[in-house]
């Protein structure tokens, strides 16, 4: 008898990422699922969240009563500030990004490959026509100490997003060290995917079948804590 399969919701993906953030880190959260992460961390983690728009030290998403339209994250969602938060302008914000102050940036993506490259700004393989949505991803990916990706494990029609090589134009040719999906936590190390955690009810074999490159199994493989 197999346990019931349970895919992670967006919120559970965010919570899974939140648990892995190390004490004292400076963390950038990209648009989408990543911006949910700041709502799932513990104060004891002493994390500092920075946002492309120059907000340093924000906390979770604001509820109706806390909402201030001028205090937003990278997804323009209202957030609250920790005591000791500060604001800088956009050039200073990316100064700290390029200087490598961020221990990690968490981004969304369409594809991730075993070499740590990822694609998140363009869905076409046609010749480049100056169209796309980069935001700050290329600046972040170039210099954050790690890039973590939050995304679904496959496309809507079931094609894998974790691949030998990205098929879409990359956002950066390397940098991804961790991918958290709706079914797995996969480390990206030395050109290999290593399955570290699986969603409830998903076997390594099932996750391998949803993955476009060989998946090594960590000797510490565990179920994602929900």
């Amino acid at each position: 008898m197999t346990a019931a399969q349970r895919r992670l919701t967006r919120e559970l993906i965010a919570a899974t990422i939140a648990r892995r953030l190390e004490r004292g880190w400076i963390v950038n959260l990209g648009v989408g699922m990543p911006t949910l992460v700041s709502s799932y961390v513990h104060p004891k983690q002493d994390l500092t969240f920075t946002s492309e728009n120059g907000v340093i030290g924000y906390a979770g998403l604001a509820d109706e009563s806390e909402m201030d339209q001028d205090i937003v994250n990278a997804g323009v969602q209202p957030v609250t500030l920790h005591p000791g938060a500060s604001i800088v302008h956009h050039a200073d914000s990316f100064a700290l990004v390029r200087r490598g102050m961020n221990d990690v940036t968490v981004l969304g993506a369409y594809e991730v490959a075993i070499d740590g490259s990822f694609a998140n700004w363009r869905t076409s393989t046609e010749p480049f026509d100056q169209l796309g949505g980069i935001g700050g991803a290329m600046d972040l990916a170039a210099r954050c100490k790690q890039v973590w990706i939050a995304m679904d494990h496959t496309t809507r029609d079931g094609s894998p997003r974790l691949l030998e090589h990205c098929t879409l134009p990359v956002t950066a040719p390397r940098g991804v060290t961790l991918v958290v999906t709706d079914v797995a936590v996969v480390a990206v190390r030395d050109g290999r995917f290593v399955l570290e955690e699986h969603a409830p009810g998903f076997t390594p074999q099932q996750i391998q079948a949803m993955t476009g490159a060989r998946l090594e199994i960590s000797r510490d493989l565990s179920e994602i804590q929900i």
Binding site: N53, H89, R98, D152
Partner: protein, 250 residues
Amino acid sequence: MRQPIVCATMSEAVADIPDDITLLVPGFGPGLPFNLLTALYDQGARGLTTVSNGVGGAPAADGRKGLGEFVEAGRVKKVIAAFTAPTHPSRGSIVVDMVRGGTLEAELVPQGTLAERVRAGGAGIPAFYTPASVGTLLAEGKEHREFDGETYVMERAIFADYAFIRAWRADTAGNLVYRMAARNFNPVFAMGARHVIVEVEQPIVPAGEIPPDQVHTPGIYVERLVQIPPDGYFSSGRMPAATTEPRGSR
């Protein structure tokens, strides 16, 4: 001290802006100078080259105009932005249609590079090197160079004819203060244009009321100041296209 001109209305503030200018438009959610943009839309200027984070989304119900409306009206020659297309492929975009149709030019720039190019323009730095975009399509054709074993691309400064700025407070000397994340590109763009026109939320105070240590943009950068009227556009309301749809979401 030199004082900026305090204009009575938005339309007065933009009345003499010619066609074919380069215009900096800050904003990232909050901090978008919608009142000046709406006045410029009514004024009729065309042939614009715009520099901004994104190029706007769907039309706003309250009548305010964003860059999207300028593009749609065929009044923009070129957009320089970190988002020239929606991140989600299923969503339509007038920018995408017009660029593919050859009636609009686009230049896609990483957001940090965009901010730094305008900062460089405002700092008399003609070019600099950045690691952003190395190894991607965006770096193709750009000059690459190694420093201390790392590869960088050279980026050129942007210095514009005009900047529209959205401030929270201002004094009669033109000193500006922004509020929270409404700051974003504003102080950088205020340095990067020959003519800087500012819309301000709070009543303009006498010079000296903003302490020198708390000024975000010194008044010498400001050419014209205009207070947002009570029936003006105060809240950001509409999100830029860039930020409405999460990447890689289901």
